[in-house]
């Protein structure tokens, strides 16, 4: 049983240090927690395309037309190749909502309607954002989406122009 000594009284330096450490840990936990909740789910997603695709073409209107397979070629005549994640992927859901202004199931129905009537090809599905990055980098005319990098990092994904 530790004996209470003058060193561990209520106002002792030892107690103050422990209290400060507890406070620091609590603050750290508070600061980290929201960031962690945001890391999945609602982290911002931005359009990403091959260098052959001009930034000026990536307007909201054109992206909507491209991702719903309404247009087949970029303004320069290059075929548009669309890449997407699985319907249930968090990044896909964010992209549908924030950039395309729709829901994954509505978009899925639009693709299915075109595929099953022979009037369009469905977007190419990839299984991860890393595969998305690789495929888009390797395919002229390709467009898809990636998570926006935290500010300060060299940018690769392009913001949406409206």
């Amino acid at each position: 049983m530790p004996t209470v000594s003058p060193q561990t009284g209520p106002q002792s330096p030892h107690r103050k240090r422990r209290a400060t450490m507890r406070l620091a840990l609590t603050l750290l936990a508070v600061l980290l927690a929201p960031a962690q909740l945001r890391a999945e789910g609602d982290a911002p997603v931005a359009v990403y395309s091959h260098p052959s695709v001009d930034n000026d073409w990536l307007t909201r209107d054109f992206l909507r037309a491209a991702f719903t397979m309404r247009v087949r070629v970029w303004p320069d005549g290059q075929p548009i190749i669309v890449y997407v994640l699985d319907d249930s992927a968090a990044a896909h859901e964010v992209f549908c909502r924030e950039v395309l202004g729709t829901f994954p199931y509505v978009l899925r129905r639009t693709w299915d309607r075109m595929t099953f009537t022979g009037t369009g090809v469905s977007p190419r599905r990839v299984s991860s954002l890393e595969e998305m990055r690789q495929r888009i980098n390797a395919t002229p005319g390709a467009v898809g989406y990636l998570r926006s990098p935290p500010s300060g990092e060299a940018t690769s994904p392009r913001g949406v122009r409206s």
């Binding site: 309404r70 247009v71 087949r72 303004p75 729709t102 829901f103 199931y105 509505v106 129905r109 099953f116």
Partner: protein
């Protein structure tokens, strides 16, 4: 005579052109997509038959399709589907070419697109006509009869036709309007259609589908949260029925479509007006005016599970909705003139590649029934269906 022999000359030329295109344009892999689907359905009916089934439960309900789409050039698509189905006596299990077309889109801007299709093309009509062959895209196992007229065997006429379509779209703000106009070449009715029409009993020959026109204008508001549309389909059926001579039937169908899409639920409403004019057949009143409507609510209760509830109304004569006038004129029970169908359904989609569907129809009225035995049938009857399907 198989369906393949009915390909029009233009289509044969199109296929030949595809085969002669330089190999780089036809490079497989990235530019070629092959898909397929198959479904098997179990059907049990109480009181009346929906398709003149033989057994109970009937397993004579399956569909399978194989289709391919090729990007032949940046603005040119080619596609085709082979399909086989059995649906009681409404279909016969013989494979056929559902569609085979070339689709060229010369104008491809986000604010304006324009293109044309030629060959055997699916008819865009209402929200679901051009995808009624695939259970994954249907609003249920059976199509809403109010609008899509499965059981009268008209699927053949409605579904696809040999001819051409012009199509386009324009965007305004967050909304998109798209339109399609199609024209079908005159063609001889398939054996299947003639059978469903009762052509043999009438001693009809030379049954032709003529003057086929289809048009649809759809608007997708706010990214497809609200969809609205108007569709029109017109066609004529000409037949030689001795000793009457030529009998002509003209059908005009208008459909109004509305759909409201939210993350956890979706509401769909469609209303259809059908006018048929018959000439040359004594005893027919000249013009028949029927209509129908359905309202469906889908709940996405879980990522894999959807429940739906639908009320589907069909009236053989919209000026005689309770059938009393028909009963007084013909002595048939009044319930043969209408069909009021309440449907409960559920679907389970554990993976994109497959799913299971189930639904129960509680029906008042026999306008949509198709019994084997003669007689008006039972007024109140039920249908239970269970389907499993996969796609790739």
């Amino acid at each position: 005579m198989t369906e393949m022999n009915l390909l029009p000359r233009a289509l044969r030329v199109g296929i030949l052109a595809l085969l002669l295109l330089p190999p780089p344009l036809l490079a497989l892999g990235e530019r070629f997509q092959l898909n397929g689907f198959a479904s098997q359905t179990l059907l049990h009916s109480e009181g009346n038959q929906a398709f003149g089934e033989d057994d109970d439960p009937s397993t004579n309900f399956y569909e399978a399709g194989l289709f391919a789409t090729a990007k032949l050039a940046p603005r040119l698509l080619g596609s085709a589907q082979v399909f086989v189905a059995d649906a009681g006596d409404r279909d016969d299990g013989k494979p056929r070419l559902d569609y085979a077309l070339l689709d060229y889109q010369p104008l491809s801007r986000s604010d304006l697109t324009f293109g044309l299709r030629a060959g055997r093309v699916k008819n865009p009509f209402g929200l679901h006509n051009d995808t009624r062959d695939v259970i994954f895209l249907r609003p249920g196992i059976l199509m809403p009869q109010a609008v899509y007229l499965d059981r009268t065997g008209v699927r053949d006429v409605l579904f696809s036709s040999d001819g051409a379509q012009l199509y386009g779209s324009t965007s305004f703000g967050d909304h998109v309007a798209s339109w399609t106009f199609g024209y079908g070449l005159d063609r001889e009715a398939s054996d299947r259609f003639k059978r469903n029409l009762g052509a043999d009993e009438l001693g009809a020959s030379g049954v032709e589908i003529v003057d086929f026109r289809v048009a649809r204008i759809m608007a997708d508001w706010a990214g497809g949260i609200l969809r609205s549309g108007i569709s029109f389909l017109g066609a004529g059926i000409d037949a030689d029925i001795p000793p009457l001579g030529t009998v002509e039937l003209d059908a005009d169908i208008w459909v109004l479509s509305l759909q409201w899409n939210q993350p956890r639920y979706s509401l769909t409403f469609e209303y259809s007006l059908l006018d048929t004019t018959t000439r040359g057949l004594p005893g027919s009143s000249g013009i028949d005016r029927s209509d129908g409507a359905y309202l469906q609510a889908d709940w996405f209760v879980a990522p894999d599970w959807t429940l739906f509830l639908r009320h589907d109304l069909y009236y053989g004569d919209r000026n005689d909705r309770d059938g009393r006038r028909h009963a007084a004129a013909t002595g048939e029970p009044r319930y043969t003139e209408f069909s009021r169908d309440t449907t409960f359904g559920a679907s389970w989609r554990p993976a994109p590649a497959w799913g299971v569907w189930a639904e129960a129809h509680i029906i008042d009225g026999t306008a949509a029934a198709n019994n084997d035995e003669p007689g008006p049938g039972k007024r109140h009857w039920q249908l239970f269906l269970l389907s499993a399907a996969f796609q790739f």
